[in-house]
């Protein structure tokens, strides 16, 4: 956080930062403020276990014995845990939002649409995420009036999030889209995040959430929005930056195989879970037994999910093989294989040496998204390239 505040290079104003850095910066601030809540909850729970205090432990009978605890409140633990837990969702998501913006802009050769909106949305999501935590607790037995408040804040956070999704789409619109492996993962993120986000609108409403609580529907929503979607971005980011880190490209064919199996496989795993959840199938049960509402076909569907999960797991082995194999056998990448504008692609050496830049730090003259600028020589202008006017003026004696 202090690096972004104090150690930016000359010319790198906040509004010239790539959205990746904005996402990581905001997520860092949130992590610093949210993790203490987890810490407080964990310490108090530890004391309940070790010293016999009753912060969270109510009167309990265990194996026929009355435990010495009394009066503790599990709801208090839930408040502390989710005060950390919900910002944590966005601590994972905001860097992903940032990275995917840069992947889409670079691989569609088009400036990010609505850069300022994107920045404001990141900040707004970060702030709002601290006042939505109890939407995880509609059925916990807390004051029911809280539900109305938290449903409202939860639905409000959909606004900046939707702005981001629209802006990604509008960046693609009329873009020169290159379906590289990083771009495939970025596109898969948009679709998956949209899917997961839409079921979030269901679960954010108290009346819909109550019957769906603790069913597989919640598992499906959570894995779509916070499991699969950010992992798509992480893979996209690895395929995008691997050449800068190692100097070699990852194998394209293996990458495409990895992408399609992972993307389609993840849908085969998590899409059917929505249906299971609507049937009323509860989560966290290793064996459901006989019920009046879960048909036998649910077990078949579960078996299908397991097979799909194994296939996705196999594809990750291929990915790991690609990471190691390409380290020595990959195609030489050069310094800037994607023709990107941001500073990391302009370093004198690839992989960058210690300190990245050698003796002289770069000076930034423009924002991070000068792609396909009319009249420019190439379809990208690096951030550290001086303005054309000045260059000619300096060249003239």
């Amino acid at each position: 956080m202090v690096t972004v505040l104090q150690a930016r290079t000359r010319g790198m104003t906040l509004m010239r930062m790539p959205l990746t850095v904005w996402g990581i910066f905001t997520a860092t601030v949130m992590a610093l403020l949210a993790f203490p809540a987890l810490f407080v909850g964990a310490v108090m729970m530890l004391l309940d276990r070790l010293l016999g205090t009753s912060f969270f432990m109510p009167s309990l009978v265990e194996m026929g014995q009355h435990l010495q605890h009394s009066g503790g409140s599990p709801i208090l633990f839930q408040h502390l845990f989710w005060f950390f837990g919900h910002p944590e969702v966005y601590i994972v998501a905001l860097p992903a939002f940032g990275i995917v913006s840069d992947l889409i802009s670079t691989h569609a050769r088009r400036n990010i649409f609505g850069y300022r909106m994107m920045v404001w949305a990141i900040v707004a999501i970060g702030a709002l995420s601290f006042v939505v935590w109890a939407h995880h607790m509609y059925v916990s037995g807390m004051n029911p009036y809280f539900g109305f408040f938290f449903a409202t804040t939860t639905l409000i956070i959909a606004i900046p999030t939707a702005i981001k999704v629209y802006n990604w789409l509008l960046t693609l619109w009329h873009g020169d889209i290159h379906l590289t492996v990083p771009m495939l993962f970025a596109l898969a993120f948009i679709v998956t995040f949209l899917n997961g986000g839409l079921t979030g609108l269901f679960l954010g409403n108290v009346v819909v959430d109550v019957p769906l609580s603790d069913t597989m529907f919640v598992v499906a929503h959570f894995h779509m929005v916070m499991g699969v979607a950010p992992i798509m971005v992480i893979f996209g980011g690895i395929y995008h930056w691997y050449p800068k880190i190692t100097g070699r490209m990852l194998n394209e064919a293996l990458g495409r195989f990895h992408f399609w199996v992972t993307f389609l496989g993840a849908y085969a795993v998590f899409f059917p879970m929505h249906y299971l959840g609507l049937l009323g199938m509860p989560r966290r049960y290793p064996e459901i037994g006989e019920t009046s509402f879960v048909p036998d076909s649910a077990a078949t569907l579960n078996a299908f999910i397991s097979v799909a999960a194994l296939a996705v797991g196999f594809a990750q082995m291929v990915f790991l093989f690609n990471l190691i194999w390409s380290l020595s056998r990959g195609r030489q990448a050069g310094g800037n294989p994607w023709n990107a504008t941001t500073l990391e692609w302009q370093t004198p050496e690839t992989p960058p040496g210690h300190g990245n830049w050698g003796k002289e730090l770069p000076v930034v003259y423009r924002w991070a998204y000068d792609y396909s600028v009319p009249g420019a020589e190439r379809d990208f202008v690096p951030q550290n390239q001086p303005p054309a006017r000045r260059a000619t003026w300096e060249a003239a004696p």
Partner: protein, 222 residues
């Protein structure tokens, strides 16, 4: 959770004030050129270490605000809360912590004037009184335990131990930084580095004093 929300609202105000000076409405796609052409947006003139400490205090502050939130919520969640009689020793300890803070402030003033003997004496006095405070807190614990107030007896007692322990551990961490400042002052030469170290220690001590006054007040009143 209202205490932590209030605390975060204060932080959000500070962050909002800072963001408002960062030209977030600028249109970066139109602004091509060197940094000097556009006002604002550079790094702050404050040293990075000071900003780092500020960030740390915000985090430590939110940790303590969460403990206070949990305290306030647990009080009313069941009928088992029995307020405990705070040992009189805590008043004395509070006095010692005030002395410690004053000593570090005097060290800071001396460092600004470049008077090294004053710096050294006050740093040692500040560190010494902080150690006395910690010893006093442990003594208070022993008095409490001797009269039957142990963590498992009542949530009020448990919170007393927990909150004093968290505060004490923060002070203990501060003593490490203070020891390093004393090591820097040892050669008897006033440097910018030393001035900064003393300033950071004083800032941290004042923060911990303020926090202690808040926590002590809460323990007395509830």
């Amino acid at each position: 959770m209202s205490v932590i929300l209030l605390f975060l609202a204060v932080l959000a105000t500070i962050a909002g004030w800072w963001l408002s000076k960062q030209r977030l409405t600028a249109k970066p796609w139109l602004e091509e050129g060197a940094i000097g052409d556009f006002p604002g947006g550079g790094a702050s003139a404050l040293p990075a270490a000071k900003i780092g400490l500020g960030v740390f205090l915000a985090v430590a502050g939110s940790l303590l605000a969460l403990f206070v939130s949990a305290y306030a919520m647990r009080m009313h969640m069941a009928q088992d809360w029995r307020p405990l009689p705070e040992p009189k020793l805590l008043w004395l300890n509070t006095g010692v912590l005030v002395v410690s803070s004053i000593a570090l402030h005097r060290a800071l003033l001396a460092a600004r004037r470049g008077r090294m003997d004053g710096v050294m004496a006050n740093l040692l006095a500040g560190g010494g009184s902080a150690v006395v405070f910690l010893a006093g807190q442990i003594l208070a614990w022993r008095q409490m335990a001797a009269s039957g107030y142990v963590p498992a007896s009542n949530p009020a007692d448990a919170f007393f131990y927990l909150i004093t322990a968290v505060h004490g551990l923060h002070l203990l961490g501060g003593l490490v930084a203070l020891a390093r400042a004393i090591a820097k002052a040892w050669p008897g030469v006033a440097t910018d580095q030393l001035r900064l170290s003393v300033e950071l220690c004083a800032m941290y001590w004042h923060f911990l004093l303020l926090v202690w006054l808040g926590l002590f007040g809460m323990l007395l009143l509830t």
